[in-house]
């Protein structure tokens, strides 16, 4: 029963990673791609973590999986903002060469 749930959950997780990758390839601009990268991949990691947790032999392994997911979530939320901001200032500066120097 636990094995079946693990197979289903990790398969669902892989589907979301695939969706994130499809989004990165198919979506038209960098900000739309960031949506796919952060949201789909985090959900994929969450499903895989829950699926693997069902096979864990101790509470410590479950807690470690939870910690990994929480840190990945925190990193994704933070990095997505930073990349979005950097892409924004790059794009704002790109058409006008004079603005490049004033970029932070």
């Amino acid at each position: 029963m636990a094995d079946l749930a693990t197979v289903l959950l990790t398969a669902a997780g892989l589907c979301f990673f695939l969706a994130g990758t499809a989004g990165v390839i198919r979506f038209p601009d960098i900000h739309s791609r960031l949506h796919a990268l952060t949201k789909a991949d985090n959900l994929g990691l969450g499903f895989i973590a829950v699926g693997v947790a069902l096979q864990a032999e101790s509470w410590a392994q479950v807690a470690r999986l939870g910690l990994i997911w929480a840190l990945a979530l925190l990193a994704a939320g933070t990095v997505a903002q930073l990349v979005a901001r950097a892409a924004l200032t790059d794009r704002a500066a790109a058409p006008d060469g004079a603005k490049r120097g004033s970029r932070r």
């Binding site: 499809a22 739309s32 949506h35 789909a40 959900l43 410590a60 979005a84 892409a87 924004l88």
Partner: protein
């Protein structure tokens, strides 16, 4: 001010202590190193992110299910769009007035970036720049609610425009 620092130090001590116990599987051999590493981590975190106002942990815990639901909905939504042959997207930008301290805005931005269809890209004046994956899908309706929830977590006055 000192009370806020003491409270934050206790919270962070509990948090980092829990992380240490998880990392070492509560092995007795790791406790001595933890007794050094955890206070060092608390000290460093208080230097890097000083406690200005106490976080209402109860509000944070109450907000967790909503955040979890939102991040699942966000992942499902973006996956559906990525796999759909017609790829329904209508990307665009909005600037939302957000009455939160800087740390609250960063936390709100991180949260919105995992919720359906929204992605924060820093601020413009006192407005949060938000990228919408689909301008017609009404993703922006959730932003004032999330901002109000963040204000409650940080125990600051709720933003005036939480209609």
């Amino acid at each position: 001010m000192a009370a806020a620092t003491t409270q934050a130090a206790l919270h962070r001590f509990a948090l980092f202590g829990a992380v240490w116990i998880v990392l070492t599987s509560a092995e007795p051999g790791g406790m001595l190193a933890g007794a050094l590493a955890v206070p060092a981590a608390v000290w460093m975190s208080l230097r890097l992110l000083p406690a200005r106002r106490p976080v209402v942990l109860l509000r944070l815990a109450l907000h967790a299910p909503r955040f979890l639901y939102g991040s699942v909905a966000g992942g499902v939504d973006v996956a559906r769009r990525a796999f759909s042959p017609s790829m329904p997207l209508d990307p665009g930008w909005i600037a939302v007035p957000v009455d939160l301290p800087d740390a609250g805005r960063v936390a709100l931005g991180a949260e919105l970036s995992l919720m359906p269809g929204t992605l924060a890209a820093g601020t413009q004046g006192d407005r949060l720049l938000v990228h919408l994956l689909d301008c017609k899908a009404g993703f922006d309706a959730a932003i004032p609610q999330e901002a109000a929830a963040m204000a409650e977590i940080l125990a600051v006055a709720p933003p005036p425009r939480s209609s």
